[in-house]
């Protein structure tokens, strides 16, 4: 009796679990066998802990306001086959074009290119922001979920954000390096 009910619940969970995944999770699922991909996750709980830590409480740059709007972050990256990974991610975004709207992009002769997508609900409300980036062989997906809007993006674009360690932000050569876990 209990086993049957457990199986019923399991089946129900499987159906439930089929529901919302962010872009990064989806990309990892679709590329399950790819061992060159690494995924970093910051859960909503950890986001809150950030805001409650020294960083959040003593912030003067405005980054705390930005982080306050975030629920989660996931970063996917690979050091190999940057263009293949990028193209796969881009085609995934295009496939879901009813869900993800491209809001920005650039392409520097294929050596450095990026696309930024947002997922919106009820018009102005941005619930997910996805950046795809390729620099030579390196590929990165940065995926934020949260409570954002165009004002948030404006602030994000024009705020000089501090780089962890205190160095000047704008000219960081390989910012991706700092994202790596040892």
């Amino acid at each position: 009796m209990k086993l049957r009910i457990f199986i019923t619940c399991l089946a129900a969970i499987l159906v439930t679990a089929v529901r919302a995944q962010d872009f990064a999770s989806r990309y990892m699922t679709e590329n399950e066998g790819d061992s060159t991909l690494t995924c970093i996750s910051v859960s909503p709980k950890m986001m809150e802990e950030i805001l409650e830590s020294n960083v959040g409480r003593n912030d003067t740059t405005g980054v705390a306001d930005i982080i306050a709007r975030l629920k989660s972050m996931q970063v996917v990256f690979s050091n190999e086959e940057g263009d293949a990974h990028f193209e796969r991610a881009e085609s995934m975004a295009v496939r879901h074009s009813a869900r993800f709207r491209e809001v920005a992009s650039y392409d520097e002769d294929g050596k450095d290119r990026a696309r930024i997508y947002v997922r919106e609900q009820s018009g102005e409300h941005i619930v997910e922001l996805v950046l795809l980036r390729q620099q030579e062989g390196r590929f990165t997906v940065i995926d934020f979920t949260g409570d954002m809007d165009s004002g948030f993006i404006d602030r994000l674009t024009h705020t000089m954000l501090p780089v962890a360690g205190g160095a000047e932000s704008a000219s960081a050569e390989t910012p991706d390096d700092a994202l790596r876990e040892d």
Binding site: A11, V15, V18, A20, S122
Partner: protein, 169 residues
């Protein structure tokens, strides 16, 4: 955002969903119930975007899970949806098979002896014409796994079918 309309987006899937549910439950009445449950469930969650690409893929996934679930709950249903080659009884439903042709009836029964995953993959590929990618999305597995299941399913059916026919000669 995307407005899902029941009549235009969900209802037209009824036949595909029914065929899949039938393949898994092997019972027309059960299959119909599963389709109904699937549609109502998906419709009630229409404000959420499903994690899968399309409404169709999402419906197929929900349908499959509900069909598996229902198969397990049936008291008179065989317990295994796994690697069992037991000859399945025709169940309580003599109208399970829509085709009157004996050969096709045989094939229906043979497919019914396959484990659920293989059956589902075979159904989605050979009957519904889905790509490996789409099938992988519905089953939440890799395309490689889809191919493996399809390979086993096609081979088993071919072997058993030709064996039976040879023997019958």
């Amino acid at each position: 955002m995307q407005e899902i309309n029941f009549r235009n987006d969900i209802l037209p899937l009824k036949d595909k969903l029914f065929r899949l549910a039938l393949r898994i439950t092997m019972n027309r009445a059960e299959a119909e119930d599963v389709v109904q449950d699937t549609m109502l469930r998906v419709w009630s969650q229409r404000d959420e975007w499903p994690a899968l690409d399309s409404v169709e893929a999402y419906c197929l996934a929900v349908c499959r899970n509900l069909a598996i679930d229902r198969s397990r709950l049936q008291a008179n249903r065989n317990e295994e949806l796994d690697e069992s080659t037991a000859e399945r009884p025709d169940a309580a439903d003599p109208h399970t098979l829509c085709v009157r042709n004996e050969q096709l009836e045989l094939l229906d029964r043979l497919i019914g002896t396959l484990p659920e995953k293989q059956r589902t993959v075979l159904q989605l590929r050979d009957v519904e014409g889905k790509t490996y990618k789409e099938i992988a999305a519905v089953l939440q597995v890799s395309e490689e796994q889809v191919k493996v299941n399809l390979f086993r399913a096609r081979r088993k059916i071919k072997e058993q079918y030709t064996e039976i026919n040879d023997y019958g000669l």
